[in-house]
Symmetry: C2
Subunit: 318 residues, 2 copies
Amino acid sequence: MNAYILGIDMGGTKSAAIVGSMTGEIITRVSGVTPAQEGSDAIVPFLINLGRQAKAQARVELTGIGISAGAPAEARRGLVFEAPNLPGWPPDGIPLATIFAEAFGIPAALENDADATALAEWHFGAGQGTKTMAFLTVGTGIGAGLILDGKLHRGATGAGGEIGHIAVEPEGRRCKCGLTGCLEAYSSGPSLTRIAIENGFTGEATGPAVVAAARAGDTAALAALETAGTMLGRGLATLCMLLNPERIVLGTLAVHAADLLMPPLQREITARTWSRLRENLQIVPAALGDRAQDLAALCVYLQRFPPQENAGTETFGM
Amino acid sequence: MNAYILGIDMGGTKSAAIVGSMTGEIITRVSGVTPAQEGSDAIVPFLINLGRQAKAQARVELTGIGISAGAPAEARRGLVFEAPNLPGWPPDGIPLATIFAEAFGIPAALENDADATALAEWHFGAGQGTKTMAFLTVGTGIGAGLILDGKLHRGATGAGGEIGHIAVEPEGRRCKCGLTGCLEAYSSGPSLTRIAIENGFTGEATGPAVVAAARAGDTAALAALETAGTMLGRGLATLCMLLNPERIVLGTLAVHAADLLMPPLQREITARTWSRLRENLQIVPAALGDRAQDLAALCVYLQRFPPQENAGTETFGM
């Protein structure tokens, strides 16, 4: 027996609906440009429409829905809130999980995308086999999904994992979130670019351009990556001392620029942790690449509604 | 039916053995000065002897043993390692839980004292009723015990919770642990005293004397407490952003000097967290006072070997 899940990946730029099996096989994928500036009144019907298209194409019976939201979310109540790049949502959020459950007549679960991707890397990617791991998105923003003692840690109000906004330089750069000295103000893609330009970088103002220039020996770009790696290492050192994970999985920038980021990152971790806390620690790049978001949406459903012991299907370990 | 537990509280200055019930009633207590400088060869027989005395006085049948170790410990294997104030232990640690289990012929469990006290405050004290809480010792050292999703979080190698050694001022004071800018280098009792003296404090070089002087208006002492509270707030802000606890329970210094520490602490938390992450957060003083260490030792056993549903005994929620 194979049960199929509808996965919704809501992003600030693009969104997708997929249909996949419990073992991660994607059979249908439909995507579209998110009407990000038009508020939830436009985005909710857009997402439902994507879901309907994916369902129609897949022609299989669906068991449930998993939603990965690229916005602040409250998993327990299935709510999504406004984000800087997704304005125009009501202050109390939108009950997106309930809306999908009612529209499709099957159960729906929702997580923010950092938590959802942490689940995907844990179940299908670079986090497999661990009990305590952290997954970090290091892209436009920096966020973490924490798997602690074999379970996704959501915190009291489902709002934890904000490693991008812990202070790594308390009197340092102002972050666009309003706080000061946040990790994200140093090591996100846009911050990397901004710091490179401040250093005198004159190339194209994008993360990939800065990384390419650094590889070609551009000193301004190299210095920006040194800063990004050092600050990322500082954030990870705090994570280690506090939570003692066995593995940290780094996404996006840390995958594409590992050669430049990892040396300063490792130096900083060594300088800011006790050997006892880092000796068994593995820091690895994310493994799922482009498949991460699709699998993330599936995993959101699977962790909330673990499959029963079906023939040949390992139960989802939560 | 009432089952009794032998509790061992191993401290760097004093140690105690107690006999108590599953509901926290202490019926016997024996204590002695720890032969701290004489190494594990002296300390282990000293602790076993304390345990034998408590057992003899209590004259009840013992079900098991809980050990709270004021030293680095590895809970899963029941090991205790050398600490700066407890030198002379073998590098691989001492299997104290196994030694006690064999000496008394009953099961034994072991945790470090921050984790053990977190369990005690959670079960009997200021953390009751929460699912996600942090307990912080703020005394000679600073450490945390984390209860996450209703379970003690130990981390991959049982070495987490080291909030005292996350960097709150990355280029700041050198900590006696060897790292730089640690919370403990600002907000522990000895650091408070040291900073007060650097500020010009001329009274007795103890934490209580600094606190008393601050209450009397001594500006050097007041400034040191302002620093200690600010840095403690900084550490707690990181904890909140990362773990989103519903309650933080503060021990020792934060109990005795709450009037002086809490205002700068609250200011710093407000400055360094998002409102969404602090709006439901409670920061409260520890409630168990002198009973904490005794109850901590009991809780170490109770969380490892939860009581079955006996008449009138609520099961220990782990």
